[in-house]
Symmetry: D2
Subunit: 315 residues, 4 copies
């Protein structure tokens, strides 16, 4: 990630603005406010603003006149209770706003989470930066054989080189042709005074999907956790997980009690179906139970045995 002098200046300006406020304020999050935390080769995550903290959840769950805190232990108990029982509205009372730079194909995955507010950099109005995502060699994964939607082994040697070459060349060529069609270089200079430039809203169609875009993205705490639960999961595509992992860190700084409850109940936990529950009950009673008499599909059976760490039962 490389910022221009001007951008660095703008960020510094924001970081040096200090005001007094009566609002609840989170010291740990203020420490990294506005900072551009690098993600992938040219992307970043910046926390731009936030509203509320752990006590705000308690405050609105209780609809109290004051802070809603009695002591930290009570607050923590209530937040864990709310998380365990899927109470949603108190977590909606906190809000956070990010500035994110990310490759377009990841932006397309991200935007499927609709309960957030977004302002994206407009390629109808402006010219996109000359920056594309190129995976590092250890992330150059082959298609998984068993999972149509996943990755298998890393591609190495000659073939890896070839793939990276393709990605780099195609991105550079299409970007350079983007400039030709616009009749304008990225720095704003005109290429040929005697030519018109193609409309920006048309020229952009020539860019490849690893071109970087950026947006302001704002969401409430509940929907942030819904996003992170799916996107920080090991089934998520690596490239979006990089962003989700950074955002998990910002979550921890912002609302540490909620973060702990989230990791315990949502991220680290597991769900057991009605049939799965009966399997566990039988196992605990020492009764014989196996794939055939369980009523589970092979896939479900294996997922359950993995969760229970009974490796010799996996079929």
């Amino acid at each position: 990630m490389k910022l221009t002098k001007e951008q660095i200046e703008e960020i510094r300006d924001q970081q040096s603005q200090i005001a007094q406020t009566k609002r609840v304020t989170v010291t740990e999050l203020e420490k990294i406010l506005y900072e551009a935390i690098p993600a992938l080769d040219h992307g970043f995550v910046r926390v731009i603003d936030y509203m509320g903290d752990d006590t705000s959840i308690v405050q609105s769950a209780r609809v109290s006149y004051g802070k809603g805190t009695k002591k930290v232990s009570t607050d923590s108990g209530l937040i864990k209770y709310l998380m365990r029982h899927w109470h949603s509205t108190p977590f909606e009372m906190c809000e956070i706003k990010y500035h994110i730079k990310l490759p377009i194909f990841i932006a397309r995955q991200w935007i499927r989470h609709r309960t957030a507010n977004v302002n994206e950099y407009s390629a109808r109005y402006s010219i996109l930066d000359k920056e594309f995502y190129l995976p590092t060699s250890e992330n150059l994964a082959a298609q998984s054989i068993s999972n149509r939607q996943g990755r298998g082994d890393v591609i190495e040697g000659e073939q890896a080189k070839e793939v990276l070459e393709i990605l780099k060349n195609d991105a550079e060529r299409t970007y350079s042709n983007y400039e030709t069609m616009l009749n304008q270089k990225y720095d704003g200079s005109t290429i040929d005074e005697n030519k018109k430039g193609l409309a920006r809203e048309l020229a952009r169609m020539n860019l490849t999907l690893n071109t970087y875009t950026q947006w302001y993205w704002k969401t409430d705490l509940l929907n942030l956790m819904n996003f992170l639960r799916l996107r920080a999961d090991h089934h998520a595509q690596y490239e979006i997980r990089v962003y989700a992992d950074i955002m998990l860190d910002t979550l921890k700084r912002w609302v540490p009690i909620t973060y702990d409850a989230f990791m315990d109940y949502r991220v680290g936990g597991t769900e057991v179906s009605a049939k799965g529950k009966i399997v566990i009950q039988k196992l605990l009673k020492g009764e014989e139970v196996n794939l055939d008499n369980s009523g589970l599909s092979k896939r479900e059976w294996n997922e359950l045995m993995e969760a229970l760490e009974i490796k010799d039962r996996i079929v």
Copy 2:
């Protein structure tokens, strides 16, 4: 509106908490933060928290690294442009949270605005306050004859007294019976040690719809304006307008540039249909146009003539 000593203390505590923040901060709104602004006889509006200001709209419309402000005049021009052309997403980047106390029949109207976050005081969990809305005599309106959904003249004299008597007596009697069924007074004391109390979730059904409830209500700036546009309008029921008017004041403190654009384009403006546009064009050309050849219904014609202030054209 009467707060308990404890509530007054809790509010003061919050108002005296001062922290330093790098976030954008709005001095005019900070001045009234946490304050209980009276509404109707027992209700209030409190601003509990906020995120962003006028510059935040500009910042995210431009997806800029810094404050997004060049100079106030440019910002103002951009905000007016966004408002005029119904750009919605930049206005979603600001957020505000209120604590509201209001009669249940108004809460039921309010909740129809779904794009907000709400935590209401739970009458399954707790006992509701002994407070009911009683209209002042100048708000005791008769049913409108012309508008099935509106108010006509004020009811006066003997009948007014009778109506107020009914409202007061019925609210008091049903509340007192609510306590009897709960076997508990509002202050928490048990009425009869030898009896059980009816479940709170059942007993509440005996309360009248003018009983006060309260909630935390959080929304973004766009949806706040959508709410105010409908509920501060003179067609809105008086009792919800009282709240909307107070909130219009908080809007003005919070985002003064946006407030001006909102008043000009949304509140004070008018919409003209395709057919209405032709009527205006003809009028300006001095052509004869009347209800019959306009293609408008009588109601539409009158609404248009009122908007144009041509009183002698109203039919």
Copy 3:
């Protein structure tokens, strides 16, 4: 539930309208279309319209040109997979519309589910029916001692009679005073020709919360299941559960494969936290584990032991 002759006629009219369509059509649901299924003493649930069936979920998950069905067994496998892995968007592709009559205090609980479309009968515009909910004696529950939000034993004998008397009398008196203030009987007749009626939007505030209202309520299949998961649960208030149970039946008629997956994974299943998973793993290995060394709270421990049906472990 008692319908007027006119209402019965209107329903019959709809049921006898038969058209040909190329849309996917569900015979089992058509059988009960428009029918008023009784709920509580005066309420009902009516299915008014629907869009899609089980195959529509498969069709859009595959983004296929045709029906999306290969064979029922494949469809069923895919739907179970989608449910297990919390895929949400394919379930949003089916839609259902209900006409519901229900007491206002239940309507207020219901409306907290915001991702639905609602048109409620307007008490600003019209006069509400003279119908109130009165619990049957076996549903007259005392407040739970252990759970601030739940019910305990049934109230019986003299006290039960007294409670029912209060509910009935207060509802009748407040309704009768509602008529007096409106200067109009429910049947439309004017009470006193020399008086004005109070505006309907004001008079309604005198009604008690067990008065019935009604609305059209439309939602997609995903959000219907979210609603049913919470409201058909045994923690839900009895009065809303009555509606949820009826709607579960309509779900079964409409999308039987999805219904089965929903019952297995959502309703009958259980969630286990990260800490809870370790407890199960230890139990299966025969290691000693108890409340103290589990890291769980007493409440969590008991919930887990209940789910696993190890009664002697409950503390």
Copy 4:
């Protein structure tokens, strides 16, 4: 647009399925159900399913037991009234589902409308079709000079040829390299038995933004109109307008009364600000008013004069 034999067959199968239903049914829309209506060079719009018609709006606005229709003229009056006064919820009671094939850069614009349900063809799971959007020569617009977000004159001659050449070559080359990296041709055949294929979720990043994707898109009537109002407008990008225009036709078939009201009040109408209203009032009274004393910006003034068709006032 070219469909495979299999796709044509699948569509025919759906079109020949005839069922009896008691639901409201719209003959005009049934006529084109499932049909692939061509859009741009390889895209299409298909109506897959729908729920409700004009009478459904009336039915739920009235919360009636039956069809909600008295006579067509009354229905039409009510629908016009609802549209004029921005009543939103009755229009949410109708739902429609489309299958759309469109270029990715248009899909990215489209998805900004969040209040819809979407299932997109997964390029993590499957290989994208070898189809890219190439503008026809009359749509090869230069960047507008006056409007940073719009189009100017058409680019012609040598330069036009050059631009089309670039777009075609780059799309073909990047697609061919996509196949190379996948080690698989679009038809499914493996290229080199001794090589692994790059994961599909990675390889897709090499595609250009004019590559076609497809999705199922479902929305309610209110949000469909919000979409069409913006995207069928002449300020919208041509490529999305093509889709919006086709969908306007489907709207007309589906709910003809609503369509008329929509065209009159939303599409053909205009909004006038508070200041603009005063300008019109003065003009009608014959008072002198000009840009300087109007309080309007030059841009606003011109927009107003254009709407009023007073050309000699444009400055």
